[in-house]
């Protein structure tokens, strides 16, 4: 009489049966539930931090551009030149920004307390996580600054 273990393939069958009867591994099961959530939250956190930093940097660029344009030219007589100076400032800063977001810029002369001021409005855009779906279409952020001539 031959024992069961000597039959070809019996080891595999015994292994499968033992696997199906196993009741351990609850930690692995919990990890399977929690793992994707933790991963997605980590990715989302990185995304939110990147957006926050981009927002800060875009605001700094807007501040600098408004100041550069307003200080270089008299806004009463040289509004066009001031706008051009501000636009050049923004373009130069964006070139130096690795992985810069897509942006739209608006340069306009506004009235601030009876004095003309150069307003720089930058609207940035970055794709969001989960294939640009949370939120759909990506993140939007703005940099808005105005400055008067000295």
């Amino acid at each position: 009489m031959t024992s069961l273990s000597s039959v070809p393939g019996a080891g595999f069958v015994i292994g499968v049966a033992r696997f199906l009867r196993a009741t351990g591994g609850s930690v692995a099961l919990k990890f399977a539930f929690v793992g994707p959530a933790v991963f997605l939250l980590a990715v989302g956190s990185v995304d939110l931090l990147a957006i926050n930093r981009s927002q800060d940097r875009l605001q700094t660029i807007a501040d600098g551009a408004a100041a550069a344009g307003a200080r270089a030219h008299d806004l009463t007589t040289g509004a066009a030149a001031a706008r051009t100076r501000a636009a050049a400032f923004v373009a130069a800063e964006m070139r130096q920004w690795p992985g810069a977001p897509a942006y739209e810029a608006r340069y306009e002369i506004v009235d601030r307390d009876g004095h003309p001021a150069l307003r720089v409005f930058l609207r940035g855009h970055r794709p969001s996580f989960l294939a640009n779906m949370l939120p759909p279409g990506g993140w939007h952020f703005v940099g808005d600054a105005s400055a008067t001539s000295a």
Binding site: F33, L40, M133, L134, G137
Partner: protein, 116 residues
């Protein structure tokens, strides 16, 4: 108590994300879903007899309410509605599962049943 605290804190993190969506897009339903998840998270953390129903109801309501903003924003930016729906389903399934697992460790009297 560890599982309850972990699940409750995770719900609060999800609330933070939904609030970020709502503030970025100026969409009220996302902000409402953030408030609902905050309520659910705190209900789980305090572990009271009413916690189970509050957590499950607020998590389900947050998923439903948030979907309104998801669909509306997808239409606004001309993104595929199907993809946006799938993304929201995956996203909300994560906090629904978190809420479910959290409530599994609550008894009807609000006492913690088992520990991890």
């Amino acid at each position: 108590m560890f599982v309850l605290r972990a699940a409750g804190s995770t719900l609060l993190i999800y609330a933070l994300f939904n609030a970020a969506f709502g503030l970025n897009r100026q969409e009220l339903p996302w902000l409402i879903s953030a408030v609902l998840l905050t309520i659910g998270g705190f209900a789980l953390l305090v572990a009271q007899p009413w916690s189970r129903i509050v957590v499950l109801a607020s998590a389900a309501a947050a998923a439903a309410v948030g979907a309104i903003s998801q669909v509306r924003t997808a239409q606004d930016v001309h993104v595929s509605l199907e993809s946006a729906t799938v993304a929201w389903t995956l996203w909300s399934a994560l906090w629904l599962a978190t809420a479910y697992i959290g409530t599994k460790y609550l008894s009807d009297k609000g006492v913690i049943l088992d520990e991890l």
